[in-house]
């Protein structure tokens, strides 16, 4: 073999791997904020809910292909490697997001938390309707821990332009108060009784 420097290769390889996953994570947006847990054993995951229902969490292999043209590699060296990795990271992030949102849709459909807007444009009323479908928790100081809204840039822009009327603001407060009462109910149930 030609003279080589394996420990240098290992270090560079580690750096590249970290950089690659950082690029994936930067592109998955909200996914990076979620807790990822490795499955140390087995090939299936089951989640038994409080209501007795069981969620059989499907597993899916998500991968992407790394392509590096020999000429490109020879002419542009490390820059070509970074570009190829970046392209693969983008592809992987897209596949991860696609799988996540598809699964989210399935779970929401199953639990009746899907709201069909039936062609209505984004509005504050719609937002309140959406909030009505989910449980909301509150922090130690009583502030609501509102869910994150994920949308396309166009929908987000529409929401930004929505004007909120006094009546809608009151309705939102009303919903939050109802959610607070529901949360208190849930909290009061978290105990050992006779």
């Amino acid at each position: 073999m030609l003279p080589d420097f394996p420990s240098v290769r290992r270090q560079v390889s580690d750096i590249l791997e970290k950089w690659f996953y950082k690029r994936v994570s930067q592109r998955t947006g909200v996914l990076q904020e979620m807790r990822a847990r490795p499955l140390h054993e087995g090939h299936k995951l089951e989640f038994h809910r409080l209501d007795g229902s069981v969620d059989h969490v499907p597993m899916k292999r998500v991968g992407s292909r790394l392509e590096l043209k020999l000429d490109d590699f020879r002419d542009r060296g490390f820059q070509a490697v970074l570009e190829a990795l970046d392209k693969t990271a983008a592809h992987l992030a897209e596949k991860q997001s696609e799988f996540f949102f598809k699964r989210l849709e399935e779970v929401c459909d199953e639990s009746g938390q899907t709201l069909d807007a039936q062609g209505r444009p984004p509005s504050f009323d719609l937002l309140i309707e959406l909030l009505n479908t989910v449980d909301i928790d509150f922090d130690d100081r009583g502030r609501p821990l509102l869910p994150t809204l994920i949308s396309s840039p166009a929908v987000r822009e529409s929401f930004n332009q929505v004007d909120i009327t006094e009546e809608q603001r009151k309705r939102l407060e009303q919903v939050i108060e109802e959610k607070r009462a529901a949360w208190r109910d849930r909290e009061s149930n978290r105990r050992l009784v006779d």
């Binding site: 791997e17 970290k18 996953y21 950082k22 807790r35 990822a36 847990r37 490795p38 499955l39 140390h40 054993e41 087995g42 090939h43 299936k44 995951l45 089951e46 989640f47 038994h48 809910r49 409080l50 849930r186 909290e187 149930n189 978290r190 105990r191 050992l192 009784v193 006779d194």
Partner: protein, 533 residues
């Protein structure tokens, strides 16, 4: 290559360290090992007592290296004891004439051979049996004959064996590596229909011998803890193979009995080391205060496991005479201990259980109560909360993380919410009617996800890691009725089929396989302990 590897192992092995492998070899050759000294000096010149298939009793003395004239002079009194004193063992009828056998890993010098011949003439005149010898080359051939065919052949597995043999051997056992090594010897995952039963039986015996080869480095370091971990895994894999291939107990029990004897010897050695005033001088003394609390948790767990093992019928040559010292040692170790991850919970639980059943009821109960709080509250992020790492994080990695090491992984593993041990402690607390403690913790308990691995086949729980099976997560009820919880406790307890008749292995199993600390087996242990009082 195989022969060289075994030869190298044999050359480096001490008398005591090849004794276990030698017993497994006798087993493979059709002898039944009646006794193998595990503790203290040789008994009347006899390290091992065995019987061949014709019923002839052999008394065996093990030596290492070459025996020249000056060595012979120094061991002659032992040889006289070996040849002339009768075998004194309950399994051997008084007055039985035995064959004395001297085994060494080297050669016997020709001048010694002539002295042995002279000694044998005198013995014959006095109606004693002649001393026979096995030298290194005969021993090597026998080891190759009975284990060589089962040594891992594909290169990665053979390299793994060599890796074990040349490792430094001063840390915990590399359990994932040992799992792969033993799987490459035992056909545990193979289809029984395509596997010859006799081959499986021979593989079981060979696995114990090959396990000894792999433990050579740990043995040189006198690393009894790592060896115990390995023997527990060997027991589990032999048991799993026997179940998978429906091998009758008579064909694998001798191997297990030898493992039991070796485990007993290893724990005895740990106790001896603890009695030495400077045992803490191991490694850099400046690092001792950092390491000690973690070591104490693990050590307390092993000693307690052995006490529980004995109580549940496990054999021990020394425990009955040293019980009080073991109890005092466990109590003393428990005063300075630490729990960086859930993998440290089973040993701590065993210590608390052991003390509770050995005259330290309050201390044991307080330790359990503290453990319950740790398992529940250190799974919630909050100011000043020390993370309790998951059960799958290796021991050393968990300690390093507690000491501030950042995770190297590209996607760091979270430690909060999910627990593999919390549910078991909770049901034990309920079984002990600790209602008030559970009431104060229930709000935090309802935040947790209890994780338990369920393999496709029950006996696969005996394997370190399974690719197939499901990870089941459950949550606590909100609100939880106390009566319903007690009912759940009553129905959850289930002794796994693979431990029936081998209940004494359960405490060791929980120590070595912390990921299997499930409510059913922990409650079963609790019941067995209560029943044995």
């Amino acid at each position: 290559m195989t022969a060289r590897a075994i030869e190298d192992w044999l050359t480096k092995a001490s008398e005591r360290s090849y004794q276990a492998a030698f017993c497994h070899l006798l087993n493979a050759m059709g002898y039944s090992v009646i006794h193998s000294t595990t503790h203290g000096p040789t008994e009347e010149g006899k390290d091992v007592i065995a019987r061949n298939s014709q019923g002839t009793v052999y008394a065996i003395q093990l030596k290492r290296g070459n025996i020249n004239v000056s060595d012979w002079r120094s061991i002659k009194p032992e040889m006289e004891e070996l040849t002339e004193l009768p075998v004194n063992h309950p399994s051997v009828k008084p007055g039985t004439r035995h064959v004395p056998l001297l085994v060494t890993t080297g050669y016997i010098h020709e001048n010694v051979a002539s002295r042995i011949a002279g000694m044998n003439r005198q013995l014959a005149a006095r109606r004693f049996k002649k001393l026979i010898t096995w030298t290194g080359s005969e021993l090597l051939m026998s080891f190759i004959e009975h284990s060589g065919g089962f040594l891992p052949q594909p290169l990665p597995d053979f390299h793994r064996l060599l890796g074990f043999m040349i490792a430094k051997g001063d840390g915990p056992l590399d359990k994932p590596g040992f799992d792969l090594l033993i799987r490459s010897v035992l056909p545990v995952g193979r289809d029984p229909r395509n596997t010859n039963r006799n081959t499986v039986i021979r593989a079981i015996t060979a696995s114990a011998i090959i396990g000894e080869y792999a433990l050579g480095a740990y043995d040189r370091m006198l690393n009894s803890y790592a060896k115990i971990e390995a023997y527990v895994m060997l027991f589990c894999y032999i048991r799993a193979t026997a179940i998978a291939h429906r091998i009758p107990e008579k064909d694998w029990k001798p191997s297990v009995e030898l493992l039991e004897s070796t485990v007993d010897g290893c724990v005895g050695k740990l106790m001896e080391e603890l009695r030495q005033p400077h045992y803490f001088g191991q490694g850099d003394p400046l690092t001792e205060p950092v390491v000690a609390p973690y070591r104490n948790t693990v050590l307390g767990g092993v000693l307690s496991a052995h006490g529980i093992w004995y109580k549940l019928g496990g054999p021990s040559e020394w425990y009955a005479d040293s019980r009080d010292k073991v109890v005092d040692t466990v109590a003393s170790l428990s005063k300075n201990s630490a729990i960086p991850s859930e993998a440290f919970i089973p040993p701590r639980f065993l210590s608390s259980t052991y003390l509770r059943h050995n005259g330290h009821v309050r201390l044991g109960q307080n330790m359990f109560n503290e453990l319950l709080h740790i398992a529940i509250l250190r799974k919630h992020k909050g100011p000043g909360v020390m993370p309790l790492w998951g059960v799958y994080v290796p021991l050393e990695e968990a300690i390093l993380r507690e000491l501030g090491k950042h995770q190297q992984s590209v996607s760091p593993e979270p430690w909060e919410i999910e627990t593999s041990t919390g549910h078991s402690l909770l049901v034990v607390a309920a079984s002990r009617l600790m209602r008030r403690e559970l009431q104060s913790l229930w709000h935090a308990i309802t935040n947790l996800h209890f994780a338990e691995f369920v393999p496709d086949r029950g006996y696969e729980n005996l394997l370190w890691n399974n690719k197939r099976g499901k990870m089941v997560q459950t949550v606590a009820r909100q609100p939880q009725s106390w009566e319903q919880l007690l009912q759940e406790v009553r129905t959850s307890e289930k002794l796994p089929h693979h431990f029936k008749g081998y209940e004494h292995w359960i405490p060791y199993y929980l120590t070595v396989y912390p990921q299997r600390f499930s409510p059913s087996i922990v409650l079963a242990l609790e019941r067995l302990m209560n029943a044995s009082d």
